[in-house]
């Protein structure tokens, strides 16, 4: 997050500004007729009126920060990740569970690895409502994604587009206006600084202590500062985790400390010994 702020020198000054003017505007805004007031969306508020159809994410903390209170339907959502196939199902699982329960099919286009249904069932998916489109080349991925969006036939569409250009995302966004389910595009974190037509962009990573770290990069509303920490245990594992395992970061820290002790004493001596023996 610090890195992104450093690369954009301009945005920080305007961001504190909107808040004082809003306080001043409060008086004239209340003077507007009610129907005009209802239609006005101010940049400092979440665009709840602009996003009507949503699928709740499953975390109240995340819903609060998203315009409309969930993953938006009728538009594409970008999820940027430092590396693919790390936390997709943990992030989308609760929303997909809802779509699957409504009897709709989840379609994935070009996932980086093989989806494993026994595990996905723990995340709320169903093997009868799951389709995998193995599109490999970027052109095939885009074509299949566009066809599926246009057909408006799937409950949720997840598409991995490692090499999409901004104009292609724009095209998908335009098509998605007619699609009633959420459309999620997974892209690498390197797309962070590219312009994108997606109204909602999210950077998602995982934290060691069974949590997801989500930063909302772009939304209809004010800038999102900081990171959201969402508790998340991958499906099925919550049954086998002992209290000690609930904080793996502590285990790793302990291990590092032990290793540091070992390294500090033993390793140099070993090296010396080897040289002597040789």
């Amino acid at each position: 997050m610090q890195a992104t702020l450093a690369l954009w020198p301009e945005p920080p000054p305007p961001s504190p500004q909107p808040t004082p003017p809003q306080a001043e505007e409060g008086a004239p805004a209340s003077g507007l007729p009610a129907h005009v007031e209802a239609a006005v969306w101010r940049g400092t508020e979440l665009g709840a009126a602009a996003v009507k159809e949503v699928v709740p994410t499953g975390w109240a903390a995340l819903d609060e920060q998203l315009p409309g209170g969930g993953w938006p339907c009728r538009s594409v959502t970008e999820v940027l990740q430092p590396q693919p196939s790390v936390c997709e199902w943990r992030l989308l699982g609760p929303a997909l569970r809802r779509q699957v329960a409504a009897g709709q099919t989840i379609v994935v286009v070009g996932p980086p690895k093989r989806p494993h249904l026994p595990g996905l069932r723990n995340a709320g998916l169903d093997d009868h409502q799951f389709v995998w489109v193995q599109a490999d080349t970027p052109a095939e991925r885009l074509w299949a994604t566009e066809q599926l969006i246009k057909s408006n036939a799937c409950g949720a569409l997840l598409s991995w587009l490692p090499q999409a250009r901004p104009e292609q995302i724009r095209r998908l966004q335009v098509c998605a206006a007619g699609c009633e389910g959420p459309v999620v595009l997974f892209r690498p974190e390197t797309a962070l600084h590219e312009a994108s037509a997606a109204p909602l962009r999210i950077v998602a990573t995982f934290g060691l202590d069974w949590e997801l770290r989500v930063h909302i990069l772009k939304r209809k509303g004010p800038r999102h500062e900081g990171e959201l920490h969402l508790p998340s245990i991958p499906g099925g594992l919550d049954a086998v985790l002992t209290p000690r395992l609930m904080a793996p970061s502590r285990l790793i820290a302990n291990r590092e400390r032990e290793r540091a002790d070992v390294l500090g004493s033993a390793t140099p001596r070993q090296a010396v010994r080897r040289r002597v023996s040789a």
Partner: protein, 435 residues
């Protein structure tokens, strides 16, 4: 009575349209009404009884005009009698109901009735130009001077005498032929002509209240082909469920044609409906439905698998096996899935690697994007001694003896790694990711 006369486009050499074409049009017209007949070079049909089914006169006329245009219908004229409709069609007037029938017919030139043709010179010398002129001649003289055909045709056109038709009968199976205007060298270019045949087929299916799940497009190479090319080729297209949705069939055909190479230029097309079944019709509902617009998922998946290949649009099937490699397999999405599924209650990863990835080991700890921290385990999976496969080196069993662990990597997330039990070297493998 609400008659329509459909007149085909005249080819450039002014020859009369082929019987094939006329018959094809009649088959297509049978979807609107069972009362369809071929009269001279036109197809006439009576749709009074079907008006309500197709949503009223205006909508039916609109549909006949737009859908007929794809079959090469130049004009569709509407009138209270079939001969009048034909006369209006020849005279270039679409709506015979715009004014009273008598008044409308009187204005038409006299050669719009084919019964006039043998007596045209005589009538012309009598000073007749329009139908109205003939009708004003004394009736008894007319019947004595000319044959009774002329008077009979006039009376039938004006609705004074009943008409007799030989109705077209729907064939039991569908096979339509189309000669191409010019030699076609590329398969995708066949799509335009093939669509005309598809329109006919969908009309035939609608008339039979049926759907098709397989149809074949044959093409015949023209006479200037090389010897090795053979006489022609064929392309069979199957759909997952019975349908007569023209747009879907045509898109599927286009996808398949795009991947086809013609061995020689094609000169003729034949379309055969292979697998036809009665289709259950859905009634329209009184209330506006919240039906989703657009294709169904099955249709769009069929189309995607037509381009990418059916083995690349897949659905999972779970099996009763604890070995991850065989816990599920994938089958084409267009095939039917078994209903029962297995139930696994142990933690399982959500992504699996196609092949277990051998991990580097440092200080007796496996490494994958950093040292792994083992969290939970071991989860022992043992079995597969019954699973025999033929290898290149003889018979082998797919027996596995593995201890699975949940491991945490600081960068790659929660992993599912295993160690071979009773193996000579103690190696760690990455097999899945809890993502």
């Amino acid at each position: 009575m609400y008659w329509a006369a459909l007149l085909l486009d005249k080819p450039s050499d002014a020859a009369s349209p082929h019987d094939d074409q006329l018959h094809g049009l009649a088959v297509w017209a049978l979807q609107w009404t069972p009362r369809v007949a071929v009269v001279d070079e036109a197809v006439v049909m009576e749709v009074e009884a079907s008006l309500r089914l197709f949503g009223g006169k205006r909508r039916l006329r609109e549909r006949v005009r737009t859908e007929g245009a794809e079959l090469g219908v130049a004009i569709a004229a509407w009138a209270p009698t079939s001969l009048a409709a034909l006369a209006f069609a020849r005279g270039g007037v679409e709506d015979g109901f715009a004014r009273p029938l008598q008044e409308g017919l009187d204005r038409l030139p006299m050669d719009v009735l084919s019964a006039v043709e043998p007596h045209r010179p005589t009538l012309a010398r009598l000073g007749c130009q329009s139908l109205g002129d003939i009708r004003r001649l004394p009736r008894d003289g007319l019947s004595r001077r000319f044959d009774k055909e002329l008077l009979g045709a006039l009376d039938r056109a004006y609705g004074l005498k009943p008409e007799v038709h030989r109705w077209e009968v729907l064939s039991e199976s569908f096979k339509a032929r189309l000669e191409l205007m010019s030699r076609v060298e590329l398969a995708p270019a066949l799509a335009f002509s093939a669509r005309r045949l598809l329109v006919q087929m969908c009309g035939w299916l609608a008339a039979r209240h049926a759907g098709v799940s397989a149809f074949t497009l044959h093409w015949a190479h023209d006479s200037m082909r090389s010897k090795s090319a053979g006489t022609g080729g064929a392309l069979t297209i199957r759909t997952g469920e019975y349908t007569r949705n023209l747009e879907h069939l045509s898109r599927l055909l286009n996808e398949h044609l795009a991947k086809t190479t013609l061995l020689a230029p094609a000169g003729e097309l034949t379309l055969v409906a292979d697998d036809v079944e009665p289709l259950e019709e859905l009634s329209d509902s009184l209330l506006p439905d919240t039906v989703r617009q657009g294709e169904t998922l099955r249709e769009v998946l069929e189309r995607i698998s037509a381009r990418l290949g059916p083995e690349r649009v897949v659905r999972p099937v779970m099996t009763e096996d604890h070995r991850i490699e065989w816990a599920q397999f994938w089958q084409p999405a267009t095939e039917k899935q078994p209903r029962e599924t297995s139930t696994v209650d142990t933690p399982q990863p959500t992504w699996v690697l196609p092949e277990p990835l051998r991990l580097a080991v440092k200080n007796h700890r496996p490494m994958y994007q950093g040292t792994l921290q083992m969290l939970a385990g071991p989860h022992r999976v043992e079995g597969g001694w019954w699973h025999r496969v033929e290898d290149e080196g003889g018979e082998a069993t797919r027996r596995v003896q593995r201890d699975y662990w949940v491991a945490l990597s600081e960068h790659a997330g929660v992993l599912w790694v295993f160690q071979e039990r009773l193996a000579d070297d103690i190696a760690w493998y990455l097999h899945g990711i809890f993502a």
